[in-house]
Symmetry: C2
Subunit: 305 residues, 2 copies
């Protein structure tokens, strides 16, 4: 067991960076944030404050110091862990990670929040790629516990997972890299069928959304799909489910749609979401989502814990 990490550097101080910063600070970790745009500071600090107020409702009231720098080297001083949240552009990230790698002593871990890129495509310019991992959070990272980790050095992965656990996250370690990691692939698979149902006019956008969050989505806040079918299999559990209903699951897979996202379908979705939003702004809906997440996190007990 290595020493706990005292200082986290945040590289890229947008929404995701501010969310990471608030979480670390509320757990007593000092945060040094960097953004090339010095004007990002005010917005960053106010986003950190808003997120910290939410974390206080969950009882997380640590006071790790949060500071902002427009020099990368300054932000990295003394950091044992770096969370990079730069633009989702392969060339930009390769260069940025190589720069961070060159500036830091070897025992520091460098984690990229990337959702769209795979680890092997962004570590190629680093002199010491073994200490570089992907650690992909879910929005907003200070509330949603999942962190998906992809690394090459098992010791680095273990230390990183320990750090995220200390931040109250639930790290999931991938055995090998996969575009979209795990959760966004599951979400994308579901979304393809949601778009298919819109395209086919089976129900309104609002009703398709309601079908998820009043049905399987509610259960999936407590357990994953395999456990869900384990409990749906009666006394035989998952083995009984697969033996009796596996063939109908495969037939269902064959019947799923393969929609396009052409202009017509996009227009249907945009109009449907506008109807569902019923005049509420994105900021209002986000505030409601965060309130809802806070309420769930206060009471939630996972089936497998």
């Amino acid at each position: 067991m290595s020493d706990p990490i005292q200082t986290l550097a945040i590289v890229g101080a947008g929404m995701i960076g501010a969310s990471w910063a608030a979480l670390a600070s509320a757990l007593g970790v000092a945060v040094r944030a960097y953004d090339p745009n010095a004007e990002a500071e005010a917005r960053f600090l106010s986003q950190v404050e808003r997120a910290r107020a939410q974390l206080a409702e969950l009882g997380l009231t640590g006071t790790g110091n949060v500071s902002f720098f427009s020099s990368l080297a300054e932000a990295l001083e003394g950091a044992g862990f770096v969370q990079e949240n730069g633009p989702e552009n392969e060339a930009v990230k390769r260069k940025l990670l190589a720069k961070i790698d060159a500036l830091l002593p070897l025992d520091a871990i460098i984690a990229s929040s990337t959702s769209a890129l795979v680890r092997s495509s962004i570590v190629g310019d680093c002199a010491r790629p073994g200490r570089i991992i992907v650690a992909h959070p879910f929005n907003p990272p200070h509330l949603v516990p999942l962190v998906e980790i992809v690394g090459a050095d098992p010791d680095v992965v273990t230390r990183a997972a320990d750090f995220y656990r200390a931040l109250g996250r639930r790290p999931v370690v991938l055995n090998r890299e996969m575009p979209g990691h795990i959760a966004n692939r599951l979400a994308s698979a579901l979304y393809r069928e949601a778009v298919h149902l819109v395209e086919q006019g089976v129900a309104s956008v609002a009703d398709i959304d309601a079908a998820l969050c009043n049905g399987p989505g509610l259960r999936w806040a407590l357990m994953g799909p395999h456990m869900t079918y384990h409990l749906g299999g009666g006394e035989g559990g998952i083995a009984g489910y697969l033996a009796h209903l596996g063939p109908s699951q495969v037939r269902r897979w064959e019947s799923l749609g393969n929609p396009s996202l052409d202009a017509e379908v996009q227009a249907k979705i945009v109009a449907g979401v506008a109807e569902e939003a019923a005049g509420r702004s994105i900021a209002e809906l986000e505030a409601r989502r965060d309130e809802g997440l806070l309420a769930l996190l206060k009471t939630r007990t996972l089936v497998s814990d």
Copy 2:
């Protein structure tokens, strides 16, 4: 607006039937249950009691009378609404629905809980098919709010949706029938990719499950996929999301897996679920799921409400 329904007949008194019965009773509706197996009565009544205790925690303490009959005609006496929960067998259901249809006055609505069959395949032997709908709940129906409705007569569909709303459910009306309705199609699409990730050894079954319920599943307890991307699209909302990230969503769809559920994959899933269950019985896991659902339902505020 027609008169509120006073008496619900439950045809098929297994788990789903007991769950419907408990819900209706707790909302003050009298229940007359039928099962061809007279020995089903004791188990049915004890399941109703257990579900009613859970509903009492949600403040639903009505006392609609619950009685059991092993004669279908007796159970249907005076029923304004029938919820059929027989075996998922097309021939059996066709016959059963025709029998119920022949026994009841025309103003009563007959709803089938079927998940696997489509409405047109089961109403063919009924003299008055217009009053027959599919009303598919999610397990367990007394806790999970979704009811997916497929009907032919708009007036019948409206009256049925009103009835389910009075039972605290969230009816979603399909514009046309679709195998698997909406929610199970979404679940099936997601499960295909979950099986693919197991097949490819990307992570353990337990970690794939954890990735869902600590990530997108948590958000999907509050909102559906379209609203989720609306909030993930930044200031441009869903229109911005589709314009900027639509093409990468389509590329992701093209990269999704098409696994088989052969013996080897089934064995991997069964072993992985056993590891995740860590010795806990299905009854223990179900109790934990129900506790978790109750806690969520007490605090949950949907983003779109």
